[in-house]
Amino acid sequence: MMMTQGPWMLALSASPKWLESLVERLFAYLPAWLTSSLAPTEVADFIVWPLIQIGVMLVVVLTAVAYLTLAERKVSAWIQVRVGPNRTGPLGLLQPAADGIKLLIKEDVIPFKADKTVFTLAPIISMVCAFIVLAVLPYGPHYASITNINIGLLFILSVSSVGVLGIILGGWASNSKYPLLGALRSSAQMVSYEAAIGLTIVSALIFTRTFSMQGIVEAQRSLGIWFVLFLFPSFIVFLISVVAETNRAPFDLAEAESELVGGFHTEYSGFRFSIFFIAEYANMVVVSAIGATLYLGGWYVPGMDWVAARLPEAYREAALTLMGVTAFAIKCGAILYLFIWMRWTFPRYRYDQLMELGWKWLMPAALANIALTATIFIVGKELGLVRSAGGVLQMDWQGKLFFTLAGLLSMFPILALLNAINRNSKSFNLRAQRTTIPVSTRKVKLSPGVKAA
């Protein structure tokens, strides 16, 4: 069975040489009917090496997720001027293990007349969708991403939208009022903010000019600059909507204890609850990784090539990979820290304010951003500040300066637009609120300029 060379081949990076020789040696031992139709190289490229990569990625991400829970509790403690878990294991490092074991041991309750299949399926869906995205994330040059498909970003978006299903089914399957309402609310929130994320990504695409994640990092590498400088307003919108997307921090109304008890996963307990829990944190990690790749240059740091060029030829590849991975980890960590930090500083949004923020603030901002960046790009192109050679942009320093300044300046028209749109919307407009409160209940004396309602 001859395998013609298809374009898929390149999506999976070729396996290293030692692995191919290893596989050939293995073939000798395997039975003939099995190995007759398979060429050792293909097997190595398409089966063994990806599995190894996936294994590594899973281990890394799972430990990261686990320790993220610990980090969150630690940081929240520090914010509240207390120490946080430091009893289990040295400096509390074993706390995640403890939580994990605790959840495993706990009795796994399925509510009466709940739809068993869907009840069990829901956490799996959300978990799977969270982890699938990892396949596309590049954490290092060349080999350091499980695969590099052409529509990476689109794939991520669609998978995250499928993730919403998990929550909906979770809420519905538990066959009780609160989870159902919680699921409705959180899924509505996720769907609307997902749209916002999509639009911000569109504005980023103007500069990356490709969907594939490696391509995005390569674009920033070729320009030698992170896109956050060009797309600062869209980065802010991205951050806010991402936080909302993962139901965290100021926007975690759905699961908030004071609101709907546990939101969609109140009925879950034990292992299923841990899966939901892991899925949430995995989502957080993934989203921050995307943010890092898209805006903060992924594994690329401006000086990296210069340093690699200094090293001897043999080590250059390994050095690049090492530097890439560390850079990527640091960036993800920074964004995660932002998540956690945001959680303990901002008050929770009321649900209608939350939706209003999504639809009346972030969405218009993203749309305006697309329009502005597009115009800026065309203007830049006309002025000859940016050339696109073979599908990839090339700029010299004047171009970069122009785009950075334009990016920053474009913040103001967006803010003006937002103000115009929400001029008299009740919830945010304090002036409006002050005037609409009936005179009888208002103790505060009106400032001279303001008219009573």
Binding site: T4, P7, N148, N150, I151, V164, L165, I168, S212, G215
Partner: protein, 194 residues
């Protein structure tokens, strides 16, 4: 053009999944299960699109269809407390519908096989340069991520050859939004705004 080797394997797996899910979408008792099976059919189809090298469409299909429309379906399912139907819908007494649907399917199949018999669908053999493009290997030093130009070409097509339908589609969507807003207004809003 032919899917051979692994692609054929993938194809047959996905068709099985798609068919299996389609059958259950139609015959599942509980509407939510229908929705789930529909989701799986659509995802299988998305994968089939990938096989047919229509990447953007696959992504769009999953993003819009599964992420948007079916989420909406589930929303509505939850709001409307549907009880799962008592008996298997297929053994309802009026089988005429099934019979006619089968007839339509058979008719299409008949047409397809007949043309297949008479020498396949495409008389003209692919032109030489067409084949070249098909089997062309992207140059190794091209920047990563520029493997197939599907998305770019589609983008170009959308904005050059299909501009009018594009605009009409946008107007259609606008109407849909306005329509649904109107439908969703409750009585109080009705009085205040009309």
């Amino acid at each position: 053009m032919l899917l051979v080797g692994w692609e054929a394997v993938f194809f047959w797996m996905l068709t099985l999944v798609a068919l299996f899910a389609a059958v259950f979408t139609v015959s599942a008792r509980n509407p939510v299960h229908c929705a789930l099976f529909l989701i799986s059919t659509l995802i299988a189809k998305g994968a089939l699109f990938l096989l047919l090298r229509a990447e953007f469409v696959a992504g769009a299909q999953i993003l819009v269809y599964v992420g948007g429309i079916l989420v909406l379906f589930l929303f509505v399912l939850m709001l409307v407390n549907t009880r799962s139907e008592v008996e298997n819908p297929f053994n309802r007494q009026d089988k005429v519908g099934a019979f006619i649907a089968a007839l339509v399917g058979l008719a299409i199949l008949g047409a397809v096989t007949y043309t297949q018999q008479r020498g396949g669908f495409f008389k003209t053999k692919p032109s030489a340069d067409r084949m070249a493009i098909e089997n062309a290997k992207p140059d190794p030093n091209a920047p990563a991520g520029v493997i197939s130009a599907d998305t770019e070409t589609l983008g170009v097509t959308l904005y050059t050859r299909a501009v009018l339908p594009f605009e009409i589609a946008s107007v259609l969507l606008l109407m849909a939004i306005v329509g649904s807003v109107l439908l969703a207004r409750d009585r109080r809003q009705e009085e205040t705004y009309d």
